[in-house]
């Protein structure tokens, strides 16, 4: 920050450490902020759409991520600039709320900023631009509702859901088996969905991955898969009609929570202690046996002695199962988590039709499948793939499609993708702009131009002539009065997105427009940036 001096040459310090602070004001601040926002958007631009490219990101500790999920890219990029951080958060909140469209929202915000810059250069007050954008966003969202379509599905007919999930998956690396993955995602969501309350708790869907096999081997299990094996190699590998005792207590002598100390001062005492300990183990195993459990799943470990005893009594056991997995198992099998051996009763046991240990390929890796559960409200999607990065990316893609399916269950309105809605909104906003007196009109028009940038990016990424394609589609929309014309990214031969079956959830799109406008308004409103050091 510049210093002022009085006539004796002494600096005039008002703010602490004034010399070290930098300050940008007025138009300069806005310009700097806009260019920061734009450069973030530029990075993501090429990831948009079915032909979008992936980014490879290496973390400081050498871990490599390959993805085209906007939120993940930005998260891993570790940006430092304040405005760029806002863009990251923008994409993150789209991820939290909707789970899909994280790239689109950033590209949209970038386009809005770009348009705003031009208007600023023409001397329009930034707040008027922001207000114009807000009006335009409202027009666009209303128009979206107008062109949205309801579609019907129920527990038996899930085809529309599958179609929508396929649209989401088509931009991902896994698009080669999008059909099967989409089906898996939809089935999983339907399994845990509460259709009455329109609520889906995604926590109940566990996504587990294992390197090896191929993507097509990915499967949905109506039950739980745990990356654990039986505690003793000789225990049976398959149990039918298992009665599961789910324990959160260890197979060891109970420890009082209060600090304690046992004084052993004679041989007899030692022997009694030893005997007592043995008796504990014995009792515990016996208790499990008594209530009729045929499988013990324990959150904690147990030592070799207990292991041996369990083996001896022919009671298979699994140890070190994580807390979350334990809860899922309890939900799936209808059992209760038992915190203490004394509490074990036959009613608290979970039931599963089949528990089996499965080994993969030539490796020694084994996993435990708990299937045919009494209550299939907890499911697992088990992903196979060639390498770890692939599996991680598949997990993210599956997460996106799960979110899409959830959104549709919450609200079953859809809009057509492929840039068709953006073009249609752009036309609507453009037409509405003329009705507004005042400077805002310019901003509304700019908003319409910004909306065009999404189909433009789509066309660009698909190797089409962006301007030519966009204007062709736009005129087609106007001529045929058909808001469902979009960019034919996959070269199917038709522009009509209804025929291509490219859907997106209405709320996802609305959210994109609202969020992008909101953040752009926030960025435009800043006219003073005070930072601790000079960049």
């Amino acid at each position: 920050m510049a210093l002022a001096f009085d006539e004796f040459g002494r600096p005039f310090i008002i703010i602490k450490e004034q010399e070290q602070k930098s300050r940008l004001r007025g138009l300069d601040a806005q310009k700097a902020n806009i260019s920061a926002g734009k450069s973030v958007a530029r990075i993501l631009r090429t990831s948009l759409g079915p032909k979008g490219m992936d980014k490879m990101l290496q973390s400081p500790d050498g871990e490599v991520t390959i993805t085209n999920d906007g939120a993940t890219i930005l998260e891993q990029m570790d940006v430092d600039n304040q405005i760029a951080k806002l863009m990251v958060e923008l994409s993150r909140s789209q991820d939290y709320e909707i789970g899909d469209g994280t790239t689109g929202v950033v590209v949209m915000a970038g386009a809005l900023l770009e348009q705003a810059e031009r208007l600023l250069e023409r001397g329009i007050h930034p707040i008027r631009i922001a207000e114009g954008y807000e009006m335009a966003s409202r027009i666009a969202v209303e128009h979206l509702e107008h062109i949205a379509q309801k579609f019907n599905f129920d527990a038996t007919n899930v085809e529309p859901l599958v179609q929508t999930c396929m649209t989401t998956l088509s931009s991902k690396i896994v698009n080669r088996c999008k059909r099967s993955l989409a089906e898996i995602a939809v089935k999983a969501v339907m399994a845990v969905a509460d259709l009455e309350r329109k609520d889906v708790n995604l926590d109940l869907i566990k996504v587990e991955g294992k390197v090896g096999g191929k993507l097509e081997d990915t499967e949905l299990i109506y039950g739980i898969v745990v990356d654990k094996d039986m505690s003793h190699p000789q225990m049976p590998k398959q149990i039918e009609d298992a009665k599961i005792a789910i324990l959160t207590c260890a197979f060891e002598p109970p420890k009082p929570k209060t600090k304690h100390k046992v004084d052993i001062d004679s041989v007899e005492k030692f022997q009694t202690l030893r005997k007592q300990e043995q008796k504990y183990f014995d009792d515990m195993v016996q208790k499990c046996k008594d209530v009729g459990a045929t499988l013990v799943i324990c959150q904690w470990g147990f030592d070799d002695e207990a292991n041996h005893l369990l083996m001896h009594r022919n009671l298979p056991a699994v140890r070190w199962v994580g807390g979350v997995e334990l809860e899922l198992i309890a939900i799936a099998t209808g059992g209760r988590i038992v915190p203490r051996f004394q509490e074990l009763t036959p009613e608290k046991l979970g039931k599963a039709g089949l528990v089996r240990e499965k080994s993969f390929g030539t490796t020694k890796d084994r996993m435990l499948y708990i299937e045919h559960c009494a209550n299939s409200r907890a499911v697992t999607i088990f992903i196979r793939g060639g390498n770890k990065m692939m599996i991680e990316e598949t997990k993210r893609s599956i997460h996106d499609s799960l979110c899409v399916a959830r959104n549709l269950i919450r609200n079953n309105s859809i809009v057509y993708g492929g840039g068709s809605v953006e073009i249609s909104c752009s036309i609507a906003v453009e037409a509405a702009a003329d009705k507004y007196p005042g400077v805002e009109q310019y901003a509304i028009r700019a908003f319409a131009d910004a909306l065009d940038s999404i189909p433009m990016a789509l066309a660009e990424n698909s190797g089409l002539q962006p301007i030519e394609t966009l204007s062709a589609v736009k005129s087609q929309q106007l001529k045929e009065n058909n808001p469902y014309c979009g960019i034919d990214c996959n070269d199917v031969g038709t522009n009509d997105m209804r025929e291509q079956n490219v859907f997106e959830a209405l709320i996802g799109k609305q959210q994109q427009i609202f969020l992008a406008t909101q953040v752009v308004k926030m960025i435009l409103k800043i006219d003073d940036v005070i930072s601790p050091n000079v960049y």
Binding site: Y96, D199, T258, K269, L273, D528
Partner: protein, 537 residues
Amino acid sequence: MAAMLQPQIILLKEGTDTSQGKAQLVSNINACMAVADVVRTTLGPRGMDKLIHDDKGNTTISNDGATIMKLLDIVHPAAKILVDIAKSQDSEVGDGTTTVVLLAGEFLKEAKPFIEDGVHSQNLIKSYRTASYLAIEKIKELAVSIEGKSLEEKKSLLAKCAATTLSSKLIGGEKEFFASMVVDAVMAIGSDDRLNLIGIKKVPGGNMRDSFLVNGVAFKKTFSYAEKENAEIRLSYPLQYQSIVDAEWNIIYDKLDKCVQSGAKIVLSRLAIGDLATQYFADRDLFCAGRVSEEDLQRVAAATGGTVQTSVNNVIDEVLGSCDLFEERQVGNERFNIFSGCPSGQTATIVLRGGADQFIEEAERSLHDAIMIVRRALKNSTVVAGGGAIDMEISRYLRQHARTIAGKSQLFINSYAKALEVIPRQLCDNAGFDATDVLNKLRQKHALPTGEGALYGVDINTGGIADSFANFVWEPAVVKINAINAATEAACLILSVDETVKNPKSESAQGEAAASAMGRGRGGAAFRGRGRGMGRQ
């Protein structure tokens, strides 16, 4: 400067920085004006925001005067006074923090030429005090009471006050939506003074329109962890081991049983609820949540009419709270526990949504301002016209009054009146209008002998002037009164300082402490002056 030639008498410790006289005064005024310049652009519905980020990497984007002043980390002793008045305005009325800083800066600016011309500052102070007294009397006279209206009417009036406050903020686009939400929240807690009964929860994601008000309590789903007690037992016989373990379990079971027997359906605890207890409650179809924050617990207690228990003994029916509906709902990425339909209904929670963390932070500050305004307006139910109308009217009144005064004071009160015009002027500047043009139109309106123009203020939409009162640009009178009072006080305080003694910055912390102690001294006698004469250009 003859004194300089004589041998100096050393009175103060070496290195002590003293500056005095007129030059010192002018320098202080310059510093204050510089600070006022920082917040100048945030005023009004077209005001801009500031992005401030500190060494630790925290970023704040704000339009709230008090927040900006606090974050600027001002060290200049005279300028610090402005920070203080912004803070006091914030805690006293909650809004108008930018106004107060701007006014104080403007009063000082008007005083500067007089000081340079050799007017004694005490004369100025005296006139300023008179002027502020007159101004406040005038506000009281002009204020319109909303007392005695029906509840519905009052609600819509209050919503208008809240909307005026919100219009300058980031969430201005949805001001009606938030204004009615704020009014509902304030109405819910009734006359109760405890502001913490209105909870604001922030959930990133979603649109700001997705924000909602819960007539009750909402908080994030909490997690439970196991607990440990600290006591030591010595066992001398291994056989006792089991008995100790059993005893412990029994204590826990006893506690749990008591909870269950009390008939409660939901158990909340500030401390953690262990695995065992969670399961125990789950088995008996009780909902339990541990690690609920103290604030939330208090609010649940207030809402449901329950009492917070420190022991599980003696849980009788009377201490149990009740509510119609308890649900767990997905909000963005979080799951929220929501209690609604509470009998006493003395609490409300606003769940805020928005695109970015900073956005929600700023929305929270804005809502806080709006809540304060509504509460203020509810207590002192008089409002005045905003948009600079009231300032213009006082300005006119003071000018008129000045003409009746003989002597120097006339000039000073005139300059005070001129300073008040800074509010409409700044509103125009920020919106990009021609301030001189608009101001002259306003002066003309206000000068109409019939007084019909008294309510005219800046029309931010068209760049002209309009009847603010009819357009529902309203502010509680107390905001303006407090702002004028505080700004005048601050200006007078700065004008009354003519010497600053600054101790040298010694290496020891002692010197530091002494300096800060002096800084707090009465009347600002310890102001550290920086230079003489015109410093800052």
